[in-house]
């Protein structure tokens, strides 16, 4: 039986945690001999119009993986945006609005039909939980779906439409115990449906810190932020806390940000905050090795690949204590500290910047943790075991 990852958009250069996970997992499973395909829509990516077909429908092979693209239907974007805005601002919505959310989401009737017609030939893995491809796709495969929800505590996760959707899933594939606990709290799924599988991390990259310093002219100690600079990643707080820290300490430590998106506030000259924007992947790896520490203040994570990659490069981390997933990673690995307010941020930074032996120990612990739990060999074996069981 074939395995199909179902995702709203797909491609080598598409950002986003779930998108990267789907692509990398499909490619690695293909390499170990599993018959993997990707079912997706013709939409370009998350930031484009979800009602517009950018790619041509049909089959293509991308990095040796067969990709089938299906056209999306037109949608009422204004109606969707009105509901979505309420959710993003933490306002409650009605049942009718929940229906609008799923009806006017990214939707491909052709994809749903393909799933319904071929459900005896595939094991469908839907990722992530909140899009129309997942909602309508799960409905089409009659209780046989596997779902990689990429779940974190947010308003979408509490919609009753998704509670019903989770109840129809045969297997829930989760990254970490904190995500599993959240799934239990929100949906009370049967224990036998829960699979704590994790996510694969590339552990064989070579990271050249001096090359990064030379290329970007960063010579002193620096705090690295890597990722999109959107509201959900809590970058505003990092910049705010860094400014306060700089005002209180004579430290020469810089804040270096890499990743797409505009900065949440303008940066004045002499602030020692540098936004390098989107950098090539090798430069990102080199940045991990060059950084004094990685700070990842995001409150909404279901795994955090960035944290893992920094640990592969033996760089210690500082995360937000209100994010159950990243805090749990730090506690399980002893690879990083966490803060919940400015005072803790300042104390952790004082320690990390002034105690090299602590940094080295945390970085080494993080490195060991990633290799032990999230090496691709381990993850592909777990997937093989999962598909063999089913």
């Amino acid at each position: 039986m074939k395995i199909a990852f179902v995702i709203p958009w797909y491609g080598a250069n598409i950002g986003g945690g779930a998108e990267a996970e789907a692509r990398r997992t499909a490619e690695h499973l293909h390499r170990v001999g599993l018959p993997v395909e990707v079912l997706t829509t013709c939409v370009r990516d998350f930031s484009s119009d979800w009602g517009q077909n950018h790619h041509r429908a049909g089959e293509s092979v991308e990095n040796d993986v067969l990709v089938r693209r299906f056209p999306v239907r037109r949608r009422n974007r204004d109606a969707f945006d009105a509901v979505n805005s309420k959710l993003m601002h933490g306002q409650p919505i009605t049942s009718a609005e929940e229906e609008i959310y799923v009806r006017e989401n990214v939707c491909s009737p052709a994809l749903s039909q393909y799933i319904a017609e071929h459900r005896d030939q595939y094991r469908f893995c839907f990722i992530p939980y909140m899009f129309g491809t997942t909602f309508w796709g799960i409905a089409a495969c009659s209780g046989e779906a596997l779902l990689i929800p990429c779940l974190h505590d947010e308003a979408y996760a509490r919609l009753s439409v998704f509670r019903h959707m989770f109840a129809q899933v045969r297997r829930l594939i989760l990254h970490v115990p904190a995500e599993l606990a959240l799934a239990r709290a929100l949906y009370d799924p049967p224990d036998e449906s829960l699979v704590l599988l994790g996510e694969g991390v590339d552990t064989d990259f070579v990271a050249d810190g001096p090359a990064f310093r030379e290329k970007y002219g960063v010579y002193g100690p620096f705090i690295l932020y890597a990722g999109r600079k959107d509201h959900g990643k809590n970058v505003e707080q990092l910049i705010d806390f860094y400014r306060r820290y700089r005002a209180r300490r004579s430290s020469v430590c810089e804040l270096v940000l890499i990743g797409g998106g505009p900065l949440p506030s303008s940066i004045g000259a002499g602030e020692r905050i540098r936004d390098l924007g989107f950098v090539p992947q090798q430069d990102k790896y080199d940045a991990y090795a060059a950084a004094t520490l990685l700070c990842h203040p995001s409150l909404q994570e279901s795994f955090s690949l960035v944290l893992m990659e920094a640990w592969v490069a033996r760089t210690p981390s500082l995360v937000h204590g209100d994010c159950a997933v990243t805090r749990e990673h730090c506690m399980r690995s002893n690879g990083g500290l966490y803060f919940t307010n400015y005072a803790e941020f300042e104390a952790c930074l004082d320690l990390l910047l002034n105690r090299p032996s602590l940094r080295a120990a945390l970085g080494q612990n993080g490195h060991r943790y990633v290799l032990k739990h999230y090496h691709w060999d381990i993850i592909t074996d777990r997937y093989k075991g999962l598909f063999a069981e089913d």
Binding site: N334, L337, L351, R355, L358, A361, L362
Partner: protein, 166 residues
């Protein structure tokens, strides 16, 4: 120069335990910032502040983090409908509490900062040596003025004596 905390935190380099480090950090900060009333709750004998200020501050320190609500559902014994009604009510309670607790968390964080500032101000006022020093300095100025005055009288007397001789 390293901040105090750098030397205050102890850990075993061979077996780092971040929970132990975080515990030490929290203890250090609690001691430094005084999340609980750091001063004696009794007003000091020589306090510059009214006793009521300490009483109010004590109450504020006891109450600043009491913002969350707990669910309380009275049991129902009505057959069939009672169970459904109870289920509906518990779901509704959970939903309401979700939104209330988010607001409460924000309020508690704000309260915590305010209480820390108030504790610091009160402690600062009662440990501030400035008024005592001002009083000491005023006394010294008074003594010096008297000495200067006495010296001025002597000088005038001497000067008038010299004029008479010439």
């Amino acid at each position: 120069m390293n901040p105090d905390i750098v030397d205050a935190i102890e850990f075993d380099e061979k077996q780092v335990d971040i929970e132990a480090i975080m515990r030490q950090i929290r203890q250090y900060l609690a001691h430094k910032h005084g999340t609980q009333p750091p001063m004696s709750l009794e007003a000091p004998a020589s306090s510059r502040l009214d006793r009521d200020v300490y009483d109010e501050l004590y109450e504020a320190n006891q109450e600043f983090d009491k913002g969350h609500v707990t669910s309380y559902l009275t049991p129902t014994h009505i057959p069939l409908i009672g169970g459904v009604w109870q289920w509906f009510r518990s779901r509704l309670h959970s939903l309401v509490m979700f939104y209330v607790d988010r607001a409460a968390d924000a309020q508690i964080r704000f309260n915590t900062h305010v209480i820390r500032v108030l504790n610091g101000i009160v402690q600062g006022i009662d440990t501030d040596q400035t008024p005592d020093r001002v009083r000491d300095l005023e006394r010294r100025v008074e003594v010096l003025e008297k000495q200067l005055h006495a010296l001025g009288v002597c000088t005038e007397t001497a000067a008038s004596g010299v004029q008479e001789e010439s």
